[in-house]
């Protein structure tokens, strides 16, 4: 396969950045998108040029490290798939592909395709955890949770925090991420003691990070590699309204 890559290059956070075009002539349809970038980088290194900087880690779609907006869609055109699991067979021979970093004010570019997603960590640090001392491990059946709620909590917990939701959102909003992280604990008994405090603190942090507001475009749901539903945003809105109205 022959692929023309138009890649965003930016030397530092303060650099203005520009697009550069690379022609990849021997792309195998079985390569993943990141493997194609690896091979391009090796070629660039041999030519004495700077390789393209991009984030990656597990390369099996579970860590949330890889990013990249490919042809205007975070993680590329394939539904429910991270960039590392996207294969070149999804493209056609002779395609031109635009590769850009995740864009949002709260995700500043560090270099090329790498952005700082620390804002998500700070939202978690604001309350996305259970801080009640649990003592020794208790009996597995001492805390009954119905299958229904266990499933819902797991659906929300599928979020890998990759940042695609905020990158896909025309408003740069991180509602889907924050909603998933608030919901996963709100469904479970362990999350109850800090439920209201958590909703208010995490949403406050989300706003302070400079993320936008939700206008229900549902682009986040479409881009999410883990198919988190916008239902959780509706749940977060309920959680927030209840917390604001009834917290002691």
């Amino acid at each position: 396969m022959k692929i023309k890559l138009i890649v965003w290059r930016q030397n530092s956070p303060t650099d203005k950045g520009r697009f550069e075009t690379y022609n990849c002539d021997e792309v195998s349809p079985d390569m993943s998108f990141l493997e194609m970038l690896d091979i391009l980088n090796e070629k660039l290194i041999l030519q004495g040029q700077e390789p393209i900087a991009f984030d990656h880690d597990c390369r099996e779609g579970i860590c949330g490290a890889c990013s990249c907006t490919i042809n205007g869609v975070p993680h590329g055109p394939e539904k429910a798939t991270t960039t590392c699991q996207l294969h070149m067979r999804k493209f056609k021979d002779g395609d031109s592909i635009y590769v850009e970093p995740f864009r949002a004010k709260a995700f500043p570019v560090i270099r090329d395709l790498i952005v700082d997603r620390g804002a998500y960590d700070r939202i978690i640090a604001a309350g996305g955890f259970v801080s009640v001392n649990t003592g020794g491990a208790q009996d597995a059946n001492a805390l009954p949770i119905s299958k229904h709620y266990a499933d819902l909590a797991m659906d929300a917990a599928a979020c890998i925090g990759c940042g695609a939701c905020a990158a896909a959102c025309p408003n740069g909003a991180a509602m889907l991420f924050t909603a998933a992280k608030i919901s996963q604990l709100a469904f479970l008994p362990q999350g109850q003691p800090e439920r209201k405090k958590r909703a208010i603190a995490m949403i406050k942090q989300m706003e302070e990070e400079g993320f936008g507001a939700c206008t229900n475009y549902y682009e986040c749901e479409a881009a999410c590699p883990k198919e988190i539903s916008v239902r959780f945003i509706a749940k977060m809105n309920r959680e927030y309204m209840m917390a604001r109205m009834f917290s002691e």
Binding site: I6, W8, F19, T69, N71, G72, V73, P77, Y98, E100, R103, A104, K105, A106, A168, C169, P170, N171, G172, A173, I203, E207, G210, F211, G212, A213, C214, T215, N216, Y217, Y218, E219, E221, A222, A223, V230, R231, I233, A234, K235, M236, N237, R238, Y240, M241, R244
Partner: protein, 259 residues
């Protein structure tokens, strides 16, 4: 001001957008049903118009509530738009939308166009300042008057000048001829065209708005969500068609041929 503290929270801002939006949609639905009485005839239409005018304080209460809803809706939308622009300052070179519909992406623009239309609409039919003639269109409440004379239910007291009293209720003998004003107004093809175009824009706005209000208020459950999404389209289309029927049937001569 304490009243505007909600603007600091993105979610509360959205809730205000949804609640004020729901109020405005309910008003639109009632307004549309009222308008459709033009098909019953001039008597029914003018009586309805007179009934609204006779509400007095209640009419003003409705007007004030709608005005506050509209002002909050506009202020909040502008503030959210500015915030969202700020949160996503660098645009993608290539952007492919997957789920964001055209109607969702043009909400602020359709909203501004509807506001401009609303200003014209109020000037034309409520303040009646676009056309000198429309101010002085009087309809003699003759049919009701003679009906009451023929069949005086309760005590009928006749005041020769302006009113008659039936069952102690004061009824204007002379009232504004809303029917004539509307028919003459819509006989102008440009005015009719403007109204139809404005209603198409309104359908665009409501198509995204109605389901969006449910989502924002947290009313999204798999049992009824598909129904809400479909209804959002059909309800907005119904409102749009209901409003368009009036200018279209006047232009085609189905209504108001005798005026």
């Amino acid at each position: 001001m304490v009243l505007f503290n909600y603007l600091k929270s993105t979610i509360l801002s959205k809730v205000v957008m949804a609640v004020t939006g729901v109020l405005l949609v309910l008003f639109l639905f009632g307004h549309m049903l009222g308008n459709l009485q033009v098909f019953i005839g001039s008597e029914a239409y003018n009586s309805y118009s007179q009934f609204l005018q006779s509400l007095g304080e209640i009419l003003w209460l409705i007007r004030i509530v709608l005005f506050i809803a509209l002002v909050l809706h506009i202020i909040t939308s502008i503030r959210l738009k500015l915030l969202n622009r700020c949160a996503n300052p660098t645009r993608y070179e290539v952007k492919n939308y997957v789920k964001a519909t055209l109607t969702a992406r043009t909400m602020i623009w359709t909203g501004i166009m509807i506001f401009c239309f609303l200003a014209f609409h109020l000037a034309q039919f409520t303040l009646r300042i676009t056309d000198d003639e429309s101010k002085n269109m009087k309809d003699m409440n003759d049919k009701n008057y003679s009906m009451f004379l023929k069949d005086p239910r309760g005590s009928v007291e006749i005041n020769k000048d302006k009113y008659f009293y039936a069952e102690g209720i004061k009824i204007m003998k002379e009232r504004h001829d809303t029917y004539k004003m509307v028919v003459k107004g819509f006989r102008n093809p440009l005015i009719s065209l403007l109204y139809v175009v404005a209603m198409v824009i309104l359908v665009f706005h409501l198509n995204h708005a109605i389901q969006s209000a449910f989502q924002t208020l947290g009313l999204n459950h798999p049992n009824y969500w598909p129904c809400i999404q479909r209804s959002s389209f059909w309800v907005s289309l119904l409102i749009g068609i209901g409003f368009c029927l009036v200018p279209l049937s006047i232009m085609l001569g189905f209504v108001g041929a005798g005026v």
